[in-house]
């Protein structure tokens, strides 16, 4: 027990030092990779908020990600708004879209939920492509420059880090609140939940709104580090990436989506530099994970980490 705790502390400290030192320790290329990982982590955490607590598998989060990204890009280029105001308002666009979609899908379960959310993402994707005047059509909106605290790699890095930590804490608090536990009850047994007076549909809808808001924060950050918004962000395969990360990291773990993002993006970055067959390699890795680690990397670590520690103790 004590051995495990100090091990976790040690790992935590090393990671913290790396994160704090980030741009000063890492080469530029890897700093950008870490920024990408952080943004991906937040998007995946938002998906896992819905999947892990409420048991709702969404393939529509690319819509929220893109909605906020485009809202950011459009407000930055077409209005004279302050960049911080933009970054606060843009995720709300995603949340509003989440509320609209939530009203329509919150009665659905499992497969039907996944398909319907996916369908809405496709609608958003096609709308984005059909409105070139507003969204830049197939090319998207490029060359967005932020200033001050959001200008330059080092600033972007620390801004992203701060936002991700803040959002992670908020999601953690919500997950452990009565709302979070009601969602778990609904995940476990929606029928019985109604008999303890839980408003199942409203709660599932609210879960989607919260989730879409934080996915929107990630979408806005995407614009900050990539200087643009592109239609691919809305394509359903982007949602697929988020879900893949959750499964890879472990959906029953709060840190799962972060671990999954680190694993996926590191693998992708390293493998694409040696071979063009990244999607194939990814496919094989996912098969292996699902096969050998049904609870994802975190599930695997928890299970074997625990057993190892307990063996040592006795």
């Amino acid at each position: 027990m004590r051995g495990k705790r100090s091990f976790v502390w040690a790992v935590g400290c090393i990671i913290a030092i790396f994160l704090i030192g980030g741009p000063f320790i890492l080469p530029n290329f890897w700093t950008w990779v870490v920024i990408e990982i952080m943004v991906m982590s937040l998007a995946a955490m938002s998906v896992n908020f819905l999947l892990g607590y409420a048991g709702c598998l969404s393939f529509g989060h690319s819509a929220f990600y893109a909605a906020a990204a485009y809202a950011t890009a459009i407000m930055m280029t077409k209005t004279g708004m302050n960049q911080y105001q933009v970054l606060l308002l843009a995720p709300l666009t995603a949340a509003i879209l989440g509320a609209v979609i939530g009203l329509l899908v919150s009665r659905l379960y499992a497969f039907y939920y996944a398909i319907m959310t996916c369908a809405f993402a496709m609608i958003v994707w096609s709308i984005i492509r059909r409105l070139p005047g507003l969204t830049g059509g197939d090319t998207g909106i490029v060359g967005i420059q932020f200033t001050g605290l959001l200008n330059g790699m080092t600033n972007i890095y620390y801004f992203t880090l701060a936002v991700i930590i803040l959002c992670g804490l908020i999601l953690w608090v919500i997950g452990n609140s009565p709302l979070g536990w009601s969602l778990r009850a609904i995940r476990e047994n929606p029928d019985r939940s109604a008999f303890i007076s839980i408003d199942v549909i409203k709660q599932r809808c609210l879960a989607l709104v919260i989730s879409s808001f934080f996915c929107g924060v990630a979408g806005s950050l995407h614009v900050v580090y990539s200087f643009g918004a592109f239609p691919e962000l809305a394509f359903w395969t982007k949602s697929g990436d988020f879900v893949t990360i959750c499964i890879l990291g472990g959906i029953n773990s709060f840190l799962g989506p972060i671990v999954g993002s680190v694993a996926l993006i590191l693998l992708e970055t390293m493998i694409t530099s040696v071979t063009l067959y990244w999607p194939m390699v990814l496919g094989i890795i996912i098969c292996a994970v699902v096969f050998f680690m049904p609870e994802g990397i975190m599930g695997f670590v928890k299970k074997f980490g625990w057993e190892k520690v307990n063996e040592q103790k006795s």
Binding site: I174, S182, R192, I196, V200
Partner: protein
């Protein structure tokens, strides 16, 4: 009248599972609903608690028409139920099963910032002690023995602090000893909380021991009703339900 059902009807395809049922319950009574398998007892429970909607008729609780309301609304008004077939939250611990009910009872379902595990600990633990599951608090509900899952079933209903508690065969599938124990627990809890009870149960000894009033259901109809002595001496009940056994 505290609780009343009037001319309730429900058909499944051609089958009249509930056929013009009228019954009433006095406040503070333990009221039994008996009848052979397939008589329509669970269907009646489902109609009363909002699991399904009646084709016709009325359900009136504390002077208010609650016919056709949702399960959530009816539970909020004070009717909680347990299920004949175990219906708990299997991957949550026993503590968490009671916790989600208590939080909902306190209308905290939309509170998103308090740490849930720090809320109402004493109350939850006292519920666990009451139903005899305090030592299993950290076990997953799905890993409990069948008997203990049935206890939890009742515990979740009681955590809603009901004024009318509807227990659908709380002892089904239990061994004789387990049955005796859970019935003692239930009797104790009914006395403690003072709630009115609608109890469905196959064991006639139990029924005769605890009931204040009995309703007999057969083929979806109420065929007899009365106090324990009325029912004990009712020839029709003997023929259709007790099969002559005394």
């Amino acid at each position: 009248m505290f609780f009343q059902v009037a001319n309730l009807e429900k058909s499944f395809g051609g089958l009249k599972a509930t056929d013009n049922v009228s019954l009433h319950i006095k406040q503070g009574d333990i009221c039994a609903l008996i009848g052979p398998n397939g008589a329509g007892k669970t269907t009646l429970f489902n109609l009363i608690t909002g699991a399904i909607k009646p084709d016709a008729g009325k359900v009136i609780f504390q002077g208010e028409d609650i016919t056709g309301k949702t399960a959530r609304e009816i539970t909020r008004k004070g009717i909680a139920r347990s299920f004949q077939i175990v219906n708990v939250f299997p991957m949550l611990t026993v503590y968490e099963n009671i916790m989600v009910a208590v939080l909902s009872q306190k209308r905290m379902g939309f509170n998103f910032f308090h740490p849930a595990k720090k809320i109402a600990r004493e109350e939850i633990i006292s519920h666990l002690v009451n139903i005899g599951l305090a030592t299993q608090a950290d076990m997953l509900a799905g890993q409990l023995s069948h008997g203990n899952q049935k206890r939890l079933e009742v515990g979740i209903a009681l955590a809603m602090k009901p004024t009318l508690l509807a227990l659908d065969e709380p002892t089904s599938g239990m061994s004789v000893e387990e049955k005796g124990e859970i019935l003692e627990t239930i009797k104790k809890l009914i006395k403690m909380t003072g709630c009115t009870v609608l109890l469905c149960e196959h064991d006639m000894n139990v029924i005769f021991e605890v009931s204040d009033y009995i309703w007999v259901l057969q083929n979806g109809r109420i065929v007899a009703n009365g106090t324990v002595s009325d029912i004990k001496s009712n020839e029709l009940v003997h023929r259709i339900y007790l099969g002559g056994k005394r």
